[in-house]
Structures are given as structure tokens and as C-alpha cells.
């Protein structure tokens, strides 16, 4: 049987409190974000509570992302926008911070060094 590369994407949602005590949903990515990650990534996004308005993307355990993965993040941001959700991001390596900035993604999600800073960045 031909060898198939393993799907190496995991994602889940945690509920945390912002510095003002307001609820924040954190979508945590682990492993790869590529074209094969769609079901896992959007499956996790569907777990975000409907009432959530403050959403954080945690990339601190993301190992590899290609341009198809960046496109998935764009689609997630589109979905968040449609639901009137604000998105902050943290945990990107310096390289992927540069890539996000090159493609303009930082216009739609600010990039932060850690979760506390990301959670504190939401405008009330």
C-alpha cells in the first residue's frame, strides 16, 4: 500500500477570562496548518460558543503552515467577521509574523507575543 503522509493537525477551543473578566474563546492550533487541515480547523471553530465576540488564535504550538494554511486562516477571519467577532493572535514565530505581515493579515488580526497581551488587546 502506498505511504500516505499523516495528518498532523489538531485544534481545540478553550474558554478563558480577559483582564476585565469578560469571556474570551481561544482557538489553539497544534502541528500543521495546510490544505488538509480544513476539517480539523473548521471543526474546532464550530465549537466556539455562539455568544463569543472575543476570539484569540493561539499559534504557539503550530509547527508548519503553508500558503494554503494561510488561506484557511483568512477564511476563519472571514467567518469571524461575519459573526461580529474580533480576533487577536499570538504565538507566531518571527518568520510567520513576517509572512502574516507580508500578506496583510495583520490588518485583520493583531499579532501579540503572548496570551495575556492578546486578551488585553480587545477594545470594549
Amino acid at each position: 500500500m502506498a505511504m500516505q503522509p499523516q495528518l498532523n493537525t489538531r485544534a481545540h477551543v478553550d474558554e478563558v477570562k480577559g483582564p476585565d473578566g469578560s469571556p474570551v474563546s481561544v482557538l489553539r492550533f497544534t502541528g500543521d496548518i495546510t490544505s488538509t487541515s480544513r476539517d480539523v480547523v473548521f471543526g474546532a471553530y464550530q465549537q466556539v460558543p455562539a455568544a463569543t465576540r472575543k476570539l484569540v488564535f493561539d499559534f504557539s504550538k503550530m509547527e508548519y503552515m503553508n500558503s494554503s494554511g494561510i488561506a484557511l486562516i483568512i477564511e476563519l477571519l472571514m467567518a469571524a467577521n461575519k459573526s461580529d467577532r474580533s480576533v487577536q493572535s499570538y504565538g507566531l514565530s518571527p518568520h510567520f509574523q513576517k509572512v502574516f505581515t507580508m500578506v496583510g493579515l495583520n490588518k485583520y488580526t493583531s499579532l501579540h507575543p503572548d496570551e495575556a497581551t492578546a486578551c488585553a488587546a480587545f477594545a470594549d
Binding site: P5, N66, I74, M78, H95, V103
Partner: protein, 147 residues
Amino acid sequence: MVQDITSAVELRLPSKLGFEKVAMQTASGVARLMGFPDDRIEDLKTAVAEACINAIEHGNRFDERLSIGIVLSMEDGKLEVKILDSGSGLHKKIHPPDIDRKMHGEEQARGMGMFLMQALVDEAEWTQTPHGGNCVRLMIRLDKEEE
């Protein structure tokens, strides 16, 4: 650090997504041997990955009977990576992604690979091979870090 050498490393990879990581790790290893700094190695890895993915998807159209070729050549402080497939040519115009149009659904979310390749390395060139396949040539220079 290896300096002033003329040498090449060659790979053949299956036309399956995921195998671009093998090319990335090989390019990373060679660049590290040559003394490239970490940030330039990360740039090269992403550019090589995008070139391999294009070769697999658009060049060889996921045809598992076809492989993609990777040739890494080291010479005088330059690392050149050629990615070869059996496709008939991908002649898309390269333009910076318009994130506003993408976010408003006016252009596809995908389609940033060639832009990233061109933006992340010192030279990127798309040509046809004498046998009719595609060749992407990526090159990084050691002296770029001093600019």
C-alpha cells in the same frame, strides 16, 4: 562552516502533499552547513515548500506515477534550489495579495505561493526545462544579511 565549495544535493520526491517537508528539511540542512542565519533558513524553507506544493498540485497534478526533482547547488556563498516537475507550465502573473479583496470574498483566499517565493528569496525564476517540464529556481546569497 562550509565555504567556497561547488557541490550539489539531489532528491526525488513523490507527488504527494506532505513530502515538501523533506525538501524543506534538506534545504535547511544545506543552508545551515553553508552558514546561513536562522531567519534566512526559515525564508528558504517556506519558499521551497511553496515551490514543491505547486509542482505537486499544478505541475504533476497529483499524478503518483510522477516525481518532483529537487537540486540544491552550493557555490561561492550562494545556495540555489531548483524544483522540477513534469507539467506544461504555470504562467500566472505574480502580484501581491490584496487582503481586503480576499477578506471580502472578491478574490480567492488561496493563491499566495508564488508571491511568497519571490518575496522570501533573493532570486526566483520560473522556466521550462528542455524536456518540457517546469523548473522553479530559487536562490539565496550569504552576503544578503549584510545589506
